[in-house]
């Protein structure tokens, strides 16, 4: 390879220099010293470049279209390598200074390519984008959305891909530990049947989207010591009509939002459920609205989210 060639040339240069030196012994030792110094510099440069070459196996210009993966990148120490994020990235605070390149439905390919990334994190379903990046010979990391266990797998896999395998492993392990701790704490406690609401129209009970028995939200709430009232529906989202909610009789209604909400707005939204008076959650006042980003992003803050949910559902276990 290049090193070998350089080595040969070096040897040739070296022997040439020696010959030159013996011919010019008369010219004096200073010339010999200068030549030897040049040789040393060349050698150092050579080894230096092989070192840095090994280091650039790890990507140094990463673009992430997935907020969860962005959080993972920053958490394992690859933050400085991130050059652009998606339009929906919010955390950590550093991303606010980074350029945005669109998201799932509208990735800005031109912008992405103009930033000369050496790794782009994309959704599995963004086939067009993947084709275009492939044509431009830009490496990609393909992300698929799934359950709680997959978050940990992804952390490890992403971490390895960006050259921070150790940090990723540590992070995953610590998350696992925290989750296990929560599970232990709520083990043996009664598990309330919980309606987990992703989204609905503000001010009314229309368009309620609840978590089905699939996906990381379902897993989070299960780990936090509750049973999903729609666990039998093998879909990530269920449109929960009024009749379904009344029929399933949840003991707890848990609304999860990513955006912060003002206090009176929160009270108003919780009060909207009052019309379903026969629902146990409404009767016992166990309607909760959590406005915390960690509960909606399947990323490294998931342990924090599970703790938050567990504390909300089982306050007595944290006394």
């Amino acid at each position: 390879m290049a090193v070998g060639e350089k080595g040969l040339r070096l040897r040739a240069q070296g022997s040439g220099l020696r010959a030159h030196g013996s011919r010019l012994k008369a010219q004096g030792s200073r010339q010999i010293a200068r030549s030897l110094a040049a040789l040393v510099v060349i050698l150092v440069l050579l080894t230096g470049t092989t070192w840095s070459q090994r280091k650039t196996d790890a990507p140094s210009r990463i673009i992430s279209l997935i907020p969860a993966v962005t959080e993972m990148l920053f958490e394992v120490g690859a933050g400085p390598q991130v050059v652009a994020v998606s339009s929906f990235d919010r955390y950590p605070a550093d991303v606010s200074k980074l350029p945005r390149v669109g998201a799932l439905l509208d990735p800005d390919v031109e912008r992405i390519l103009s930033l000369h990334p050496d790794l782009v994190v994309v959704y599995a379903t963004q086939t067009n984008l993947r084709e275009q990046l492939e044509r431009a010979k830009v490496p990609v990391y393909v992300y698929s959305h799934a359950a709680l266990a997959d978050i940990l797998t992804t952390i490890r896999s992403v971490g390895t891909r960006v050259g921070h395998a150790k940090a990723a492993d540590d992070l995953a392990a610590s998350i696992e530990k925290r989750i296990a701790a929560v599970r232990t704490r709520v083990a043996g406690l009664p598990r309330p049947r919980t309606l987990i609401v992703f989204d609905r129209e503000a001010g009314t009970l229309r368009g309620i989207f609840a978590s089905g028995g699939f996906g990381f939200v379902h897993d989070m709430v299960t780990a936090a010591g509750a049973d999903n009232v729609f666990a039998d529906v093998k879909q990530q989202a269920v449109q929960a009509t009024t009749e379904l909610v009344l029929a399933r009789r949840p003991d707890v209604i848990l609304e999860l939002r990513g955006d912060p909400i003002a206090a009176e707005a929160r009270q108003r939204e919780i009060a909207v459920w009052q019309s379903l008076a026969s629902v146990p959650a409404v009767r016992s006042g166990r309607v909760y609205l959590l406005a915390d980003q960690s509960t909606v992003v399947p990323g490294p803050r998931v342990a924090q989210a599970i703790e938050l949910i567990a504390r909300t559902l089982h306050p007595e276990a944290w006394k």
């Binding site: 009970l205 009509t241 379904l244």
Partner: protein
């Protein structure tokens, strides 16, 4: 056949009215959950304890009533638009009303407008305003130098509005996140689960106004089908009739869409079926369509919420599954 128009109107109204009544009375009895009617109507159990009663009176009955309301509004608006545009293939959505409504709802959902006034959600209010805006623009474009509304310009303006608003909708989509997009898509497919009587009560005055206008329009619509000039020489104030038809049918459509979203095919399947049964006289077709439309949508909604229980299909899917093949059959038949 030709004698006793009054009797024919009475008979068809009675027949379809009975159908509608049966639909409205039986729909709340059916659902994905089994409930005990006896318990539901047992006054001795306090309402807040009575799950069966809550399911009946909060979940199913408002839903049935909103289905009847939306169905009758869309079906009769369809008849009026077909008469106005002199085209049996026109629908309540041909002239851009639903595109305006969709844009309004989309804006409300994407930018999370959260005012809820008198039990009307932001999306419902915004969609109504959106439909009025679309209608206003189409009307202004179609008002000719001569007194009336040029039906050709109406059609062109309506189609243009549909395209323009669709472009705006795509643009707003850009700002929506995943769950918002999902909710918008669901809204577009129709949702009758109002869970309260408020939206129905709010839409009721609009229904009365539109139906009053439709009653007046019945005979003029017969005349309009002869052509503008022929109608004029038979004593019709064509410009006024066109204005009233356009505004009242748009109002009805806007009200229906704000309650249940843009449920497709009701506005064309029902009028056609009714005409096949009772003939083209609008004095019979209008009341029959209003009643049959109510029964039809309530029926579709029952199917939507029971066919793959406990999952519910959006009602627009059922109307499309019925309407699509029906429409195809119509086109083939006419060819």
């Amino acid at each position: 056949m030709t004698t006793g128009l009054a009797r024919r109107i009475a008979l068809t109204a009675g027949g379809f009215g009975l159908l509608a009544a049966i639909a409205i009375l039986t729909a709340p009895l059916v659902g994905s959950t089994h409930i005990s009617l006896r318990r539901a109507f047992d006054r001795s159990i306090p309402f807040s304890d009575n799950v069966d009663a809550q399911i009946f009176f909060i979940a199913r009955l408002p839903r049935t009533l909103s289905g009847a309301l939306v169905g009758s509004l869309l079906a009769s608006a369809g008849v009026v638009f077909q008469g106005l545009l002199r085209n049996p293939l026109a629908t309540p959505f041909t002239l851009g009303v639903s595109a305006g409504a969709a844009l309004g709802a989309m804006l409300a959902i994407t930018f999370s407008w959260s005012f809820a006034w008198a039990g009307i959600s932001a999306a419902a209010a915004a969609s109504f305003i959106g439909s009025l805006a679309a209608v206003g623009i189409v009307y202004a474009l179609a008002r000719g130098r001569h007194r009336g509304l040029s039906t050709n310009v109406l059609l062109l303006a309506g189609v243009t509005m549909n395209a323009f608003f669709s472009a705006l909708i795509l643009f707003v989509q850009y700002f929506a996140d995943f769950s918002q997009t999902y909710r918008i898509l669901r809204w577009l497919m129709g949702d009758l689960d109002v869970s309260s009587y408020q939206p129905i009560l709010t839409a009721l005055p609009l229904m009365f106004i539109s139906f009053a206008a439709f009653a007046w329009l019945a005979r003029p619509l017969n005349l309009l089908s002869l052509g503008d000039e022929s109608a004029e020489t038979r004593g019709l104030n064509v410009a006024a009739a066109q204005r009233i038809a356009f505004i009242s049918a748009s109002l009805a459509t806007g009200a229906a869409v704000s309650v249940g979203g843009p449920v497709g095919f009701i506005g064309i399947v029902v009028p056609h079926l009714v005409r096949l049964i009772v003939g083209p006289d609008h004095r019979v077709v209008l009341p029959a369509s209003a009643l049959f439309g109510a029964a039809f949508l309530v029926g579709c909604d029952v199917v939507a919420r029971t066919v793959i229980a406990p999952i519910e299909l959006p009602v627009g899917v059922i109307t499309a599954l019925i309407g699509g093949p029906f429409f195809l059959w119509l086109l083939v038949r006419r060819a």
